[in-house]
Amino acid sequence: MDQQLAAAGTVQASKIYGSGDTEVRALDDVTVSFHKGQFTAIMGPSGSGKSTLMHCLAGLDRLTSGHVMVGETNLGQLSEKDLTLLRRTKIGFVFQAFNLIPTLTAIENITLPLDLGKNSPDQDLLNEVVTAVGLADRLSHKPNELSGGQQQRVAVARALASRPDVIFADEPTGNLDSQTGAEILSFMRRAVDEFGQTIVMVTHDPVAAAYADRVLFLADGKIVSELIEPTTDLILESLRAASNG
């Protein structure tokens, strides 16, 4: 294992759907670790297991065998309710779309995980996040009054506001045009650099992945390669190599 402290990780993680002839190994003995304060991208073709890996890491799904750690916690030992509480406090989410509750305002969406736990938000942190996200004047707007990019920024702000151990982002720019997508990615980059936030992002897009500190490539449920300090060109090259290999 790495010398650096791990925010989350798996040990010999396997996820098997079905059995016998229809058996599918979505994850096949994956051991991986995500370092604190690092921005990791997970790439791979459809069906490579990248979404399954993220879901298992985030406590949305359970492994068939192996372990998932978030911080000091082994997720396999948690009850459904404890998993929920873990998601509320230790994990942040940014989905591709439908990130926000339509009846709540932007600020209410941001503080939703805190409100669910009846915790009052850290006001300084909240101000900082809101300022950083650049939505100070739109906080009382409902999601349908915000643009797609603004909605995603609110989603990132929500993920940041509870200071989770790790944020999982599932194609966060998949529904956005490249300009807006770039804004969101820079913002996530800043969250890592300025707040020391740990982010794990699943993406198809080599441009998006290039914002990360490290890119993991998955195929057939296994990690096949890894890039540190990636650039778009390097990523494309690796992808080409992976699909040829």
């Binding site: 509320r88 339509p102 009846t103």
Partner: protein
């Protein structure tokens, strides 16, 4: 497209289940009203058929009071050929409950339940009677009873029992039990010798009928002709009616059939109300599901379906649902009919058991109503569906913000129209009950549609207000419940308005009941000062009761109170009978056409301390037989005053003149025209009292007077001897009994609304699966999701219940204002009952949302997030 419609049915199982359930309840309730009626008609039809099975020809008097059947008529048949047997009958028809046996415990059989029927014992071929145990009644006073009643009321063969009869208290020995062909359980059947009954019923030498069995030598029509010839000797005047067997059966069942038609009609009314409620809910269910299928409908349009085809596919789907539900509804109707019998019998109505009879009309109505209502409800959503644009296949967007102004304007117009219709019924001066009820009922339905269109205006803000406390209690889940309920005001409003309809009806009934009770209390407090009252539900109060009270030193003043309807006509006199010949424009005031008022009589010398009639002019305590006192409104209507003379027409057509010696105001107890008891007895055929009031004598303790009153009452177990407080209580008990029955019948309507709430909440959860997934992902526990969904249902119910209570109070007040002040002039609102009802409905709403809430809380997070 039919294939597609069927596929859709299979796909939307929940929708299918809920919609079908609603229609099944509605159709089942409607069919049950027919099944109950037809089943009971068959029972009574069979009874009538079997009772007259041995009778080929029946003879009855056309005017029994002036020209009855006597033994002379039987003798006149001696020379008629073709008669095997002819028997004089006392049928007991129209004389139910006149002869009441007193049970061993000193009580009578309750008059609230099935009737007590006594008829003359006969045997031979015309008789359907047969003795089960013991002997046939033969001597004076001897009687037999049906075995069911003997067992139920503890009558023992060989023992003697007292009877309350029109001729006073009688005593007779029970000699046997009997049954007859076509016997039904429920009523108490008694049989005695015909002479005993003539004696008890004060019939003299009168009989009710002659039953004739033919010997077969002469065809029945010929026999009827010769019986006619023998009895109707004056060719210009028929004094008896001669009927064949079919006519006898029809006659015997006519009364039952009429009563059953009324009961069936009332049930049908409640059934239609619940169907009306179902329409609202089905509209919503279809609208939601059409919304959910926007992408699919858009795809259909994109690949070339015409809007017409889409419309027809939705309509066809509703047709199949209606068809399926109608079939199930008829089966459900049979079960509901049996349930209704059980419930009403538990309330003491004694409905006999009946076979399930499903007539073609029932099937026709069930299918008509089931398919009709479903397709009607589906029409608007189907039109919306047909307007789906092909592009929705790609965008999948169904959330269109429609301009609602038109809807609200329409709602206002429709509501105004409905209120106008109701007012027409209430204040339009209609002279028949139908003339009032038809515009009233139709107007109420129209008003509800109008208000349902308007409810979205109120539903949003009201949901938010109701949700406020939830937000404080449950925090974020409460906040989300509130927002979700207020999110789609149109849907919340429409579903809430279904509950509103049921609660409007219940709270209106509560307001009417409370107001009548309050008015009754007011009368007792202001007009009736006596300490004790003798009253009776159905039996007559003989004058001897007054004498017995008078003879008892425990009591002071005592007076009977008697009522009788009269026609009043002051000068100029125009006979009432000629009303029809008076041209309409000649009628200027009530006296031109006769004036209808009620005659009442008191013992005015005793009235001090018993009644306060609010005499404003003159003095009535010394009234003589040629004098009268009038209420102020009659004085005004007739344009007469103190010292004038009025002419009173009696029901038999004779007139009498009365001098006005007093004018009074009391609106309730005293009726309009007061005369002396002697004069009343001259004028009215009624010999008995409607009620009696008395008071404690000076110096007698309350306990002693109470005991004395109970002692007098012990001799008359069929009369109610009550203190005025007990009397008041029994009145409010009666009102409450009626309210309970109404509430029970309305429960079904409320049940339908609750199914609607279940459906709406469930479908809302369907729509928000992804949102629920997101909430779970960011840390909502299952319990929090459960709370959110549960209270969404609670809030919708609360909105409906509050609207219903407000509307019910308003409608109740409107109806009360339509009732003349002489009958009731106040509106009393039972706040506690109504608030309790609102709370109970909201709790029921939570129960309705329980299933969707459990389901929502158990959603798999991953599936929910990736739900398309």
């Amino acid at each position: 497209m039919f294939k597609l419609a069927l596929r859709n049915l299979a796909a939307g199982k929940v929708r299918l289940l809920l919609t079908t359930l609603l229609i099944v309840i509605g159709v089942g309730f409607v069919s049950s009203s027919f099944i109950l009626r037809d089943g009971l008609k068959d029972v009574f039809g069979n009874l009538a058929e079997e009772v007259v099975a041995g009778i080929d020809v029946g003879v009855s008097a056309i005017d029994p009071s002036t020209d009855p059947i006597t033994e002379a008529d039987l003798r006149a048949l001696d020379d008629v050929d073709g008669i095997a047997d002819a028997v004089l009958e006392i049928t007991g028809e129209g004389q139910e409950n006149l002869i009441q046996p007193i049970k061993a415990d000193g009580t009578t059989i309750t008059l609230q339940g099935p009737p007590q029927i006594a008829f003359g014992y006969t045997d031979g071929v015309t008789s359907a009677l047969s003795i089960v145990e013991g002997q046939a009644p033969a001597g004076p006073g001897e009687w037999a009873v049906d075995p069911e009643s003997a067992a139920e009321h503890g009558f023992v063969i060989g023992d003697s029992y007292d009877f309350i009869t029109p001729s006073g208290r009688q005593n007779g020995q029970l000699v046997g039990t009997f049954t007859f062909d076509g016997f039904v359980e429920g009523p108490t059947f008694m049989s005695m010798t015909r002479e005993t009954l003539q004696d008890y019923l004060l019939l003299g030498d009168r009989y009710d009928a002659i039953s004739i069995a033919a010997d077969g030598s002469v065809p029945v029509p010929e026999l009827i002709a010769s019986v006619n010839g023998a009895l109707n000797t004056d060719p210009n005047f028929a004094r008896v009616e001669v009927q064949n067997q079919e006519e006898l059966i029809a006659d015997a069942s006519a009364g039952f059939n009429q009563a059953l038609d009324i009961i069936g009609g009332i049930l049908l009314g409640f059934a239609l109300l619940s169907l009306f409620v179902s329409i609202f809910i089905i509209v919503i269910i279809f609208a939601i599901t059409v919304g959910q299928r926007t992408r699919e409908l858009g795809l259909l349009r994109a690949i070339g379906s015409t809007p017409g085809q889409v419309l027809r596919s939705v309509m066809a789907e509703s047709f199949f649902i209606g068809l399926l539900a109608s079939i199930l509804g008829i089966i459900g109707g049979a079960i509901i009919a049996l349930l209704i019998r059980a419930v009403l019998n538990a309330a003491g109505l004694g409905i006999p058991s009946f076979g399930i009879v499903i007539k073609p009309l029932t099937i026709l109505v069930a299918f008509g109503v089931g398919i009709g209502v479903t397709m009607l409800a589906a029409t608007f959503p189907a039109i919306t569906a047909s307007r789906t644009s092909p592009i929705s296949a790609i965008t999948g967007s169904s959330e269109k913000k429609e301009k609602s102004i038109a809807r609200y304007v329409l709602g206002l117009i429709v509501a105004a129209l409905g209120i106008g219709l109701m007012s027409l019924g209430l204040f339009g001066g209609a002279d028949s009950v139908t003339g009032v009820l038809v515009p009233l009922g139709f107007g109420a339905a129209v008003t509800f549609v109008g208000i349902a269109l308007l409810t979205p205006l109120i539903a949003g803000p009201l949901s938010k207000t109701l949700g406020k406390p939830l937000e404080l209690i449950f925090n974020t889940p409460g906040r989300l419940a509130k927002d979700n309920a207020a999110r789609n005001p149109r849907r919340t409003g429409t579903i809430a308005s279904t509950l509103m309809i049921g609660l409007t009806a219940v709270s209106m009934a509560f307001v009417l009941g409370e107001s009548f009770t309050a008015e009754f209390d007011r009368i007792l407090n202001t007009s009736v000062q006596g300490d004790y009252l003798v009253t009776s539900d159905q039996a007559d109060i003989p004058d001897e009761v007054v004498e017995k009270i008078n003879a008892n030193p425990a009591f002071g003043n005592v007076t009977p109170v008697k009522y009788w309807g009269v026609e009043l006509v002051n000068e100029p006199l125009i006979p009432i009978e000629d009303n029809s010949s008076i041209p309409e424009d000649a009628i200027e005031s009530p006296r031109d056409v006769g004036y209808r008022a009620d005659l009442a009589a008191f013992d005015y010398s005793q009235i001090e301390g018993l009644f306060n009639l609010s005499v404003i002019e003159g003095d009535l305590t010394a009234m003589t037989n040629d004098q009268t006192a009038l209420r102020t409104n009659i004085v005004e209507d007739l344009g007469v005053g103190l010292g004038d003379t009025i002419t009173v027409y009696l029901s038999d057509g004779s007139t009498t003149d009365l001098d006005i010696i007093a004018i009074f105001e009391e609106p309730q107890v005293a009726s309009g025209v007061l005369v002396t008891l002697d004069r009343f007895n001259d004028l009215s055929p009624q010999r008995t009292s409607d009620w009696i009031a008395t008071k404690r004598a000076d110096g007698v303790s309350v306990e002693a007077a109470d005991d004395a009153f109970i002692e007098v009452g012990a001799e008359y177990p069929n009369l109610a001897f009550q203190s005025s407080a007990e009397f008041r209580q029994s009145f409010s008990d009666q009102i409450n009994f009626i309210l309970r029955i109404i509430t029970i019948l309305l429960t079904l309507t409320i049940l339908v609304s609750l199914v609607g709430i279940l459906a709406t909440v469930a479908l809302s959860v369907f729509e928000r699966v992804r949102e629920i997934g997101l909430l779970r992902a960011v840390g909502s526990t299952r319990k929090q999701i459960f709370t959110t969904v549960l209270w969404e249902g609670g809030i919708i119910c609360g909105v409906g219940a509050i609207l219903g209570a407000v509307l019910g109070i308003g409608l109740g007040a409107l109806m009360l204002s339509a009732i003349p002040d002489g009958i009731i002039n106040q509106v009393a609102i039972p706040w506690i009952s109504i608030i309790a009802m609102v709370l109970i409905s909201s709790v029921l709403g939570l129960f309705a949302a329980l299933l969707p809430a459990i389901w929502a809380s158990r959603l798999n997070v991953l599936d929910a997030i990736s739900h398309a």
